[in-house]
């Protein structure tokens, strides 16, 4: 049942992205930023938390999940260490994701050459 919930949640998020690509003039970079920001705002409003509880990795792996981690980290940071935590908490919470993106991105760039899709 968890798998089905994760599949549906992740699928709905991706459908929204696909509709934005097909039906609007938004560039992929803008859609990316919108998704991350939307994740953070929805978390702050208390909406994304329940979605994560329902969909699990289906909600945390797509881009809004990154916004969710940032917002949750910032909230926790404020609780732990005051206003300064709002600045450090988000990145601390998302550090694993950020470092993984850099390391694996670099490795992929070193190991592979991009090619035209055949």
């Amino acid at each position: 049942m968890d798998y089905i919930k994760a599949f549906i949640t992740g699928g709905v998020i991706c459908i929204i992205g696909q509709i934005l690509i097909d039906k609007t003039n938004l560039t992929p970079a803008r859609i990316l930023v919108i998704f991350v920001t939307a994740g953070a705002i929805l978390t702050a409003l208390g909406i994304y938390g329940p979605i994560v509880e329902f969909g699990g990795a289906g909600a945390t792996v797509p881009l809004p999940g990154f916004g969710y981690a940032l917002a949750k980290g910032a909230i926790k940071g404020v609780k732990d260490s005051g206003v300064l935590g709002a600045f450090t908490g988000g990145v601390t919470a998302a550090a694993g994701g950020i470092t993984a993106a850099i390391v694996f991105g670099y490795l992929a760039a070193v190991l592979f050459d991009p090619k035209e899709k055949s």
Partner: protein, 338 residues
């Protein structure tokens, strides 16, 4: 009015009408799997062609297409008075770096994808006026280098929307001469920059269609000719949606070109090749002209064509700053005498 002009935008070449005496085409692997494969001189095995970058591969295609056009006409670089060339990259580096090794007096032109008929538009009157005997016109483009230049680097793996076009990997060239045998360039109609306010760099056919329609209308008005005077009317790379828009725009002006109108961007690839709206790029109209259309003229299947390569004159900076995409189209009339 000057004696060799017709109307506002058209030149009539009657003194020494330049002939296309030789043609050469090189295309990438994907283009070589398309419906026009048999018409191309050379098909690459992969998009790098043994070079370190796509830009280097593109300029090598340019050089080899130029050399092949010379070889077919049994000419040496020193026989050629001018090389007119262009491509899509910043500072037109494919053409200029190729010209470095070709050693022919060179004019680099930027007209985006309109480069092929742009170069011929300028070369033809030089020949007709007696200022040159042989002029080589070559243009090139490369899917991978153009994506990096205008949209996103391929490494990013960005999804392409349905209206996106596929830049042709290839280089095409024609050798124009006052001597020898071949179809003649009889008219040149220079296009204006037209902008209907389209902003989507993934929908360039629609941005260029008004320019194509405007140039064709000017050609018909200047020359007194109509669509019926041509066996084929050709645009460079409007693709599916731009082609339909051009037909509609010209119908409003009273010209029905639909039954004899093809777009090089629609001819390059099969539906199954997943290129979305169609092909684009400097090489698109270059290789379709030099490979397919001129072969059809040689075979006698078509006698007279009106062709306009179409260009979208935006840069990555103007796109990022939210400017619209201006279009341009230059038309040439090619006729096989006799």
């Amino acid at each position: 009015m000057s004696m060799h002009r017709m109307g506002g935008q058209t030149l009539l070449l009657t003194q020494n009408p330049p002939k296309i005496i030789s043609r050469a085409t090189i295309v990438g692997k994907k283009e070589g799997e398309g419906p026009l494969a048999e018409y191309f001189d050379k098909i690459l095995e992969d998009d790098l062609w043994g070079e370190k970058s796509w830009e280097k591969a593109e300029r090598r295609m340019y050089v080899e297409a130029a050399e092949l056009a010379l070889k077919k006409a049994q000419k040496e670089p020193q026989d050629i008075n001018y090389l007119f060339g262009g491509d899509l990259l910043d500072q037109i580096i494919s053409a200029t770096f190729a010209a470095r090794s070709l050693g022919i007096p060179f004019y680099g032109l930027y007209g985006a994808c309109s480069s092929m008929t742009q170069t011929i538009s300028l070369a033809a009157p030089l020949l007709d006026g007696g200022y040159a005997d042989n002029v080589l016109c070559v243009t090139s483009s490369h899917f991978c280098s153009a994506e990096r230049q205008f949209r996103y680097p391929l490494e990013m793996g960005v999804q392409r929307p349905p209206t996106a076009q596929w830049t042709v990997t290839g280089a095409g060239g024609v050798l124009l001469s006052v001597n020898g045998e071949g179809p003649c360039i009889t008219h040149v109609t220079t296009g204006k920059v037209i902008d209907f306010g389209m902003k989507d760099a993934n929908y360039m056919g629609a941005a260029m269609a008004p320019a194509a329609a405007d140039t064709f209308r000017a050609h018909f008005e200047d020359t007194g000719r109509g669509p019926d005077d041509y066996d084929l009317i050709v645009t460079g790379d409007l693709a599916k949606y731009g082609r339909e828009l051009t037909i509609d725009l010209l119908k409003r002006d009273g010209y029905d070109i639909e039954d004899r109108f093809i777009d090089c961007g629609c001819e390059m690839f099969n539906e199954s090749q997943d290129v979305h709206a169609g092909a684009s790029g400097c090489a698109c109209s270059a290789v379709v002209l030099a490979g397919y259309l001129l072969k059809k003229m040689e075979d006698g299947d078509i006698k007279r064509i009106l062709m306009a390569s179409t260009g979208a004159l935006h840069s990555i900076i103007t796109s990022q700053q939210g400017d619209s995409i201006p279009g341009i189209a230059h038309a040439i009339a090619i006729e096989k005498k006799g």
